[in-house]
């Protein structure tokens, strides 16, 4: 899989966090899981899922009684799948007939540095203002909601850009390719 580097700057955003879900396809006894597994928390009055963490890859899973599981904290898609498989293995070892159904990546967060400072106020005032929310008193970053692909970019004066809401790696590469020339326009 060739990395999309058609960006003239040669800057490629790096993934920081991946959120994925998988269906273990069986009903789970959360009390049993919490009692017999390491590094888990279960406080039903606060949240009706077991919160389990593993060290490698360093991830956290939310395991629900219905058999659905959310896996967060991995840095790459492959690590997220591996982590989800490790969690499913733990559930299997505890005696539940866990399967690995419908693994889906729900959210990818990536970040990068465009290496120049950006004039956010000017940015928000132009035609791109329709997509931007810039309220420096509330939050120092400009919130850019891109329509195609549908995701959110946080653009900071320092030149750091955070891209969130992507479901595929290509989405955020495209988003960055789209936003880079626009940002270059507003270089300080």
């Amino acid at each position: 899989m060739a990395a999309r580097r058609n960006n003239p700057s040669g800057i490629v955003p790096t993934t920081q966090n991946i959120v994925s879900t998988v269906d273990l396809d069986c009903v789970l006894d959360l009390n049993h899981i919490a009692l017999h597994s390491r590094n888990s928390e279960y406080f039903p009055k606060r949240f009706s899922a077991v919160i389990m963490r593993i060290k490698d890859p360093k991830t956290t899973a939310l395991i629900f009684a219905s058999g659905k599981m959310v896996c967060t904290g991995a840095k790459t898609e492959a690590q997220s799948k591996l982590a989800a498989r490790k969690f499913a293995r733990i559930i299997q070892k505890l005696g539940f007939p866990a399967k690995f159904r419908d693994f889906r990546i729900q959210n990818i967060v990536a970040s990068c540095d465009v290496q120049f400072t950006i004039r956010l106020e000017k940015f928000a005032c132009t035609s791109h203002g329709a997509f931007s929310t810039y309220e420096p008193e509330l939050f120092p970053g400009l919130i850019y909601r891109m329509k195609q692909p549908k995701l959110v970019l946080l653009i900071f004066v320092s030149g750091n850009v955070v891209i969130a809401g992507a479901k595929k790696r290509d989405d955020f590469y495209t988003a960055f390719d789209n936003i880079y020339p626009v940002l270059a326009e507003f270089k300080k």
Binding site: N31, A34, L35, S37, R38, N39, S40, E41, Y42, F43
Partner: protein
Amino acid sequence: MATFELYRRSTIGMCLTETLDEMVQSGTLSPELAIQVLVQFDKSMTEALESQVKSKVTIKGHLHTYRFCDNVWTFILQDAVFKNEDSVENVGRVKIVACDSKLLTQ
């Protein structure tokens, strides 16, 4: 009044439980009385730790495992250092079981 039965797992609590079991087995003590003794033991332990223990200890170590279930925290620490006012103790492995004291007063 609900009591925390976790002190029964300490060395002194285990000895008490064993002795009471022997007495119940041999018929010297009735089971209900044995249970009453254990409940009184729980209460006395709680009271003694609350009123008679004044020292504060700092425990620092590498957290190997943690668990939170039924409002009980269980931690397993490795290479822990127990620092008292005047003494320092190094322990290779320590298990900490903690119950929420708010539950007692409910």
